[in-house]
Symmetry: C2
């Protein structure tokens, strides 16, 4: 089955986009493991029409509303996004195909700022693994997304060390790969990254791959070579990124990080996707 | 009392803008006689977080939410908007002063398209009355807004005929001014407007003033010389019109005529007004 649109994210932007697409007669699929930033918001009093609600309550209401309209919502963790003839979205459980994709998965909380100052730091194993074929690399992360990146790197690189940065290892990786559970104390380098200090030890490396937390709009954008402005995905006036057929809205594209704005953009984005699908006879 | 902002309109865009302004620490005033297009919507199922609601219910919920946050909402009919040192908004009951204004009063249902083809047609007595000092003019309309325009024209023009276009006269005008209650059958002219046919009679005129229904964003825009694109108010990326300090959002600026979009724009617009007030030390 090929979906008209896969919406990654089940917050206000994603659900609104899905509702509008459904109403336009298209078949959207919503993929998301959790509700992002809204899950941690206790009081919302500035969303029109609802005097008071908590973030989790609003998320739940949105998901139920979309389900009630017949929209399929799958609670799987998105690990990868690629484009061949169509878009392929890989989760921890399956791969889904779609004509268009909306990245509506919120702000990028898994950027690793202290590594960003150095060269030799990548957010995409598939894109950059090849450059480190015979090199010593660090893979920073502790969950499914890290494990996905690890499985890609294992086929390319010989010498991988996983750094969970003080977090427990929450995914299965090959037992031959060393895992450092200590917090990262310092990253050293001279332009190019050279070593990581953790648990009182210094680990010399040639490169580092960042796969912290869940794959976010930011990391998925990195996988596809989407234009970014800082951590924000850059879109044109139709909410399309520089990748044809790939759209983004809500917190992912920056601006006011508010439910109101996300909802407005979700509606507008869906209307432009509808026009895009028609224009391209998809 | 000078308000930080007067929001004209109490629909989703206006109320959201007012809620955000209040939350930013400003004192907004909302002025509106009715809820516009939403009052006639029976089913809304695509507004995030609310599975089903009617337009009037949503309007009521929004007004109560804003009132609950301490926002002043005055149910008066806006008749005029001018700018001297600050903005002055005239209603049927009073004049209010503000540092900024948001036009969030919906689409322009009171444009009179069949007259627009001719020269000699105006939407603003204050702006254009002077050009018709010794001329025969028609004033088209039947309510308070028409009566307001009539009071302006009376001081300038000698020969005024009111055309209600088949509607009952619903406002008080000077008893010396003739009122034609018949439907307008035809408007004649050769480039410039020349006569109006109604009730089987032909009334020769030199110019016509349109004041149908209530003053809308469109008509208020005409009063201030705001740039329009068709009936839509033109705004920049900060939702400001070509008049400094005058903003607009929601249906008034065109695009998707949806609650979702209006709410998103209301939030964004308020954030830009907050920046504008700070930047200009207002």
């Amino acid at each position: 089955m090929k979906y008209d649109c896969i919406v990654i994210g089940k917050g206000p932007a994603g659900i609104t986009a899905a509702i509008y697409l459904k109403r336009y007669g298209y078949t959207p699929l919503v993929l998301a493991k959790d509700g992002g930033a809204l899950e941690r918001v206790s009081d919302i009093e500035n969303y029109y029409g609802i005097p008071h609600i908590t973030g989790p309550e609003l998320l739940k209401a949105g998901v139920e509303q979309a389900s009630g309209l017949g929209i399929r919502i799958v609670e799987e963790e998105v690990l990868d996004l690629t484009k061949e003839e169509h878009f392929l979205v890989t989760t921890n459980a399956a791969t889904y195909e779609a004509k268009t994709v909306v990245l509506a998965c919120g702000t990028s909380r898994n950027r690793y700022a202290k590594a960003d100052a150095f060269e030799g730091v990548s957010y995409c194993a598939t894109c950059d693994g090849f450059f480190y074929r015979k090199k010593k690399i660090a893979l920073i992360g502790n969950g499914n997304y890290m494990a996905h990146e690890c499985s890609v790197l294992e086929n390319i690189c010989k010498d991988i060390t996983i750094f969970t940065d003080g977090l427990p290892l929450e995914a299965e990786v090959s037992p031959t790969i060393p895992v450092v559970l200590d917090s990262i104390e310092k990253i050293n380098g001279d332009g190019k990254i050279q070593s990581i200090e953790a648990g009182g030890k210094t680990y010399p490396i040639d490169g580092a791959f960042i796969a912290i937390g869940k794959a976010s709009g930011f990391t998925l954008a990195k996988h596809l070579g989407i234009e970014l402005n800082g951590s924000n995905i850059v879109v044109d006036s139709t909410y399309m990124t520089n990748i044809d057929g790939l759209f983004s809205c809500g917190d992912s594209i920056g601006g006011l990080l508010q439910v109101s704005k996300a909802v407005g953009e979700g509606a507008n984005c869906a209307s432009f996707i509808s026009k895009y699908l028609k224009k391209n006879n998809l």
